[in-house]
Amino acid sequence: MSLSAKLKYKFMKDYGAPALMSLQGLKRRRSRPTPSAFGPPLESNARLKEILTRHYYLSRFVPGVKKVAWVTSGAPVELLRVFDFYTIYPENHSALVGAKKQGAEYCGIAEGDSFSQDLCSYARIDLGHMLSGKSPAGKLPKPDLLFCSNNICQTVLYWYKAISQELDIPLIHFDAPFVSDRQSEADIRYMAQQLQDMIPILEQVSGNVFYMSDLEAVLKRSQDSSRTWGNILKAMQAKPAPMTIFDAFGHLAPIVSLRGLPVAQDYYNILAEEIDDRVSKGIGAIRDEKYRLIWDNIAIWYKVRYLATFFAERKMNFVTATYTNAWAETIDHLNIKDPWNSMARTYGQIILNNNLKHRLGLMRRMIDDFSVDGMVMHSTRSCKPYSVGQYDLRKAISTSLNLPSVIIDADIADERVWSEQQIQTRLEAFCESLEDTNRG
C-alpha cells in the first residue's frame, strides 16, 4: 500500500468529498420542480444523493489503498467487508447509466464487441463501460476480485467470467442451489462450506486477516439495516402511503451496495425517522391517493419519473413491490451466533432463487397487507428469472383476488426496448379497468 495513495484517499475522504457535496447542494437547488400531483418530496433524497456521489467519487482514490471487489446484488457481501474491500456493484452502476438514459449507448459498445443483444442490459452496460472506460460516475476503479452469486441469475457467472478473463483476476462464485420446494440441510451445508472456503482467497487478495468477531459485527449491522429498510417499506401500509415505490427504487441503493457498512445503517435511521414522521402527520407521497398498486420486477430505470407521474396524475400510488422487498425479505434467517448456516439460509432463499409458489404466496400477502387495488408487472427483456412465470402468477392472482392487472414489456436499462405508445395504451386500459371495477 503506497503512503501517498493512502494520504490522498484520506484527504479526499475528509475534505475533497465533503467539498464536492456542498457543490452538489448548490446544484440541487436548481433542480426540476415537482409535478403538482405529488406531495412534498422526501428530505432524505438530498442525503441519499450525497452518500452515493461520495461512494463513487471516493472510489477513484481507492487503488493502492484498498482492494476493490465487484459484487453482484445478491452476493453475501458481509464476508468481503471483513477484509475491507471497497465494493462496487456493477448492477447499481448499470442502473445509474440506465436512469441517465445512456443505456443504449453503453449496450451498443458491448454489442459492437460481439456481445449479443439478448444478453442482460446490466451486463451489456457493464461490459460497455469496461470496454470504453465511460461512466456517468466519472471513473470506476478496476477490480482486484470479482464476487458473484447465481442466487439472482445464471448470467452473472458468465458475465463475471468474461471480466475475470479480460483482467486476469480471481472470481469467487457463491453457488446457491435453487429452492424448488424447500432448502435441504445438504444445500445449507454445501453453501456454508463454500463461504468458509472463500476465506483463504479473500485473505490472500486483500492482505488482511479474517476475524470472526469482525464478521459478527458486520452481520449485525447488515441485519439491522435490512430490518430498518423492511420497516420503512412496511410503513407504506399507511394510507396515504408516505412514499411511492418509485422513491423506494432510489432509496434501495444503500441496502444493495453499502450493506454492512455504518453509512447504510445511519442513512436508514434518517429515512425511517422521516417516513414515520410523515405517517404520523398523514403526509402522502401523492396528493390524492385513491388507488394503491403493487409493482413486480426490477424498475424501468429510464422511465421512473414518467411512470411515477403517469400514475400520480391518476391518483394511483405504488405502495409495494416484490423488488424493493427482496433486500428485507429473508433477513430474519440471519443468526449472528450461527453465521455460516444462517447466511446460507438468508442468501439461498431470496426471491429470485425461490420457486413460483413461494412468490405467489408472498404477492398475495403483500396485496392483502398493503390494501392493494391493482397490479403492474414489468416483463423485462433482461431478467428472465424475474419475468418467467409472470403470466401464470398474474392469472392466479387476478382470478383468485379479482384484481385488475397488466403486464408491460420493457427493459430495465436498455431504452431501445421501450415503446411508449403501446405501453401507454396498455397502462391507460389498465387504469380504465381499475376505475370500472371500483365503480361497480
Binding site: 395504451t425 380504465e432 370500472d436
Partner: protein
C-alpha cells in the same frame, strides 16, 4: 327537449373513423378515412363528414370521446378512452352476448374479455411487432401484387397451404419472396399467410380464454379468408359487424353518451 347527439372518433395508425349517435344510441353517421400524416386533421375531417351526413352542426354534439393511438391529438374531444375499452363497449352494443372481442387493427391486435355490460375485464395485446396485424397483410399483399380484397378471398383457404414460419413481418416477407422464387402458387402462399396471422392472434385468444360469443372488430375483420381460418380454429361462428372498422368509434360515442349522462345526473 331537443335530442342530444354524441360523437366518437377513432384515430388509428392507418385509418380514422367517426361515428355520431343520438340519445337512442342509433347510429346517424359513420365515416372512414385514411389517417395520413396528421391525426388531428384527419379527426376534424372525419367529424365534418359525419356531421354533414347526419345533417348536424358541431355545436349540437353534446359530448365526444376520442380513441385510438391518436386519441390525445383530438382537440375538440370532451374525453379520451383507450381503443381497448371502446372496442369492448362497441362490440357489446352490436352483439350483446359477446364475451370475447378480437380486434385486429392496422398496427396492433388485441383480444379483450368483457362482462355482460361491455366493461373490459382483461385484455391481451401484441408486443412491439406488427405480426398479426393489418400492416402485415398490407405488406404481404403488396409483395404478392394482390389487392387486399383479393388476398382475403376465402376460396384460397380450402386449397393446399405453404406454411410461413416467420412471425416477424420483415422475415415473413423474405420468406414469401423465396417462395415466389421457387414458383410456389400464390394461392398456397396466401393460405399460409392467413394461417400464420391467425396463429399469432390465437396465442392471445388462449391467454384470455374464450368467453361466450366471439366478436371480431377492426379493419382486418373484412378479410373473409382470415375469418374462415379463425372460425375453424375456434370451432364456433364469429360475430362479424357490418362495419367492423367503426366499432371502436361507436364504442367511443357510447362512452361519450355515458359520461355525459353521468355528469348531468350528478
Amino acid at each position: 327537449m331537443a335530442d342530444l347527439f354524441f360523437g366518437g372518433i377513432d384515430v388509428g395508425s392507418l385509418s380514422t373513423e367517426a361515428v355520431i349517435i343520438n340519445s337512442e344510441e342509433q347510429v346517424l353517421a359513420e365515416v372512414v378515412l385514411i389517417t395520413g400524416v396528421n391525426g388531428s386533421e384527419a379527426a376534424q375531417k372525419a367529424l365534418n363528414q359525419a356531421l354533414e351526413l347526419a345533417e348536424l352542426a358541431q355545436s349540437q354534439i353534446a359530448a365526444l370521446t376520442s380513441t385510438g393511438y391518436g386519441r390525445a391529438s383530438v382537440p375538440f374531444a370532451t374525453g379520451k378512452t383507450t381503443e381497448i375499452s371502446c372496442h369492448g363497449v362497441g362490440a357489446h352494443h352490436l352483439f350483446p352476448s359477446t364475451g370475447t372481442v378480437i380486434d385486429v387493427g392496422g398496427q396492433d391486435s388485441k383480444v379483450i374479455q368483457i362482462d355482460d355490460r361491455g366493461h373490459m375485464l382483461d385484455f391481451s395485446m401484441n408486443d412491439k411487432c406488427a405480426a398479426g396485424t393489418g400492416r402485415f397483410l398490407e405488406v404481404m399483399a403488396d409483395r404478392l401484387e394482390l389487392e387486399l380484397d383479393e388476398l382475403s378471398n376465402p376460396a384460397y383457404i380450402t386449397g393446399p397451404s405453404t406454411p410461413i414460419s416467420s412471425t416477424c413481418t420483415v422475415f415473413a416477407e423474405s420468406e414469401v419472396i423465396s417462395l415466389l422464387a421457387k414458383d410456389t402458387p400464390r394461392e398456397q402462399i396466401v393460405n399460409g399467410l392467413q394461417r400464420s396471422i391467425v396463429n399469432r392472434i390465437w396465442s392471445m385468444v388462449v391467454s384470455i380464454g374464450i368467453h361466450g360469443e366471439v366478436t371480431i372488430t377492426g379493419g382486418v375483420a373484412k378479410n373473409q379468408g382470415l375469418i374462415k381460418v379463425l372460425e375453424e380454429k375456434l370451432g364456433q361462428k364469429l360475430n362479424v359487424p357490418k362495419n367492423p372498422q367503426t366499432v371502436g368509434a361507436l364504442g367511443a360515442a357510447l362512452i361519450a353518451k355515458r359520461h355525459h349522462s353521468d355528469s348531468t345526473s350528478t
